[in-house]
Point group: C2
């Protein structure tokens, strides 16, 4: 079993998880501070999905930190299978949420020009939250691929 950059119980893995939590939390924070977001299903779903992403990544970040501290080896097939399933589920949900939020943001911005007509609508916050969600998803997808690779190499 070789050590893989970003695998479970490594410094790379810990940083990857921490960055996922940070971007997901930023996305939730920006979206929750945008007035009237609750009227749009896609944005509510974005918050729910980023919340799940943040919780999952936070849990794994603590596990990585603990494993680093007590020098525990997390590279066993059962644990890695669990990480693979969780990572793939959260990554797919995050991607779906990011894409649907992006679809709505583009609609507001370009197609039905809500952003120009109703300038109390916090469009820039919607955009920023969606961008953070995409960043969180891209790191989550990286983790999911690394875990899948690890599982395949057992």
């Amino acid at each position: 079993m070789r050590e893989l950059l970003g695998g479970p119980g490594t410094w790379g893995g810990l940083w990857l998880r921490a960055a996922q939590v940070a971007f997901a939390a930023a996305s939730i924070g920006v979206m929750a501070s945008a007035a009237g977001f609750a009227g749009y299903t896609a944005f509510c779903y974005l918050i729910a999905s980023m919340g799940l992403q943040a919780l999952w990544s936070l849990g794994l970040a603590f596990l990585d930190g603990y494993a680093l501290k007590v020098k525990m080896d997390l590279n066993n097939a059962v644990l890695v299978s669990l990480f693979v399933v969780g990572d793939w589920v959260t990554a797919i949900l995050s991607f779906a949420a990011s894409c649907s939020a992006a679809g709505v943001v583009v609609l507001f911005e370009r197609d039905i020009t809500f952003c120009r007509r109703y300038y109390q609508l916090p469009c820039s916050r919607f955009q920023l939250a969606t961008a953070f969600a995409f960043l969180s998803w891209s790191l989550s997808a990286t983790s999911a691929l690394i875990m899948f690779w690890l599982l395949a190499s057992f």
Copy 2:
């Protein structure tokens, strides 16, 4: 190299590709017949992405058919790597297009109630096209997983 259900050059693979083409074509047909779809970026992107999906799957369906006819073996690492990359790219694009179209459909239907206010808007066609796109994506994702599995088993 074992034969995998739905792998390249098998009857299962041919059916899977044919179903992908059928659902993608149905999605394009329904969306293109919906008046005014061109005013919405997400729906234009859905057509573009389903077009790519249909072309790619059609090409592979022909290849599968040819391989079945002349009893050619498509199970070699170079070809399967090519299929993996193509399948993953088209599957991810289809998923992104389906999710953003679904985000816009839900927005029209529930959040800003465009469907009730403007009944010339062909909401049911938008919904049907999005549903077909999700079906096409789910089969495309199945193919992508089968190809990845095949590649991993070389």
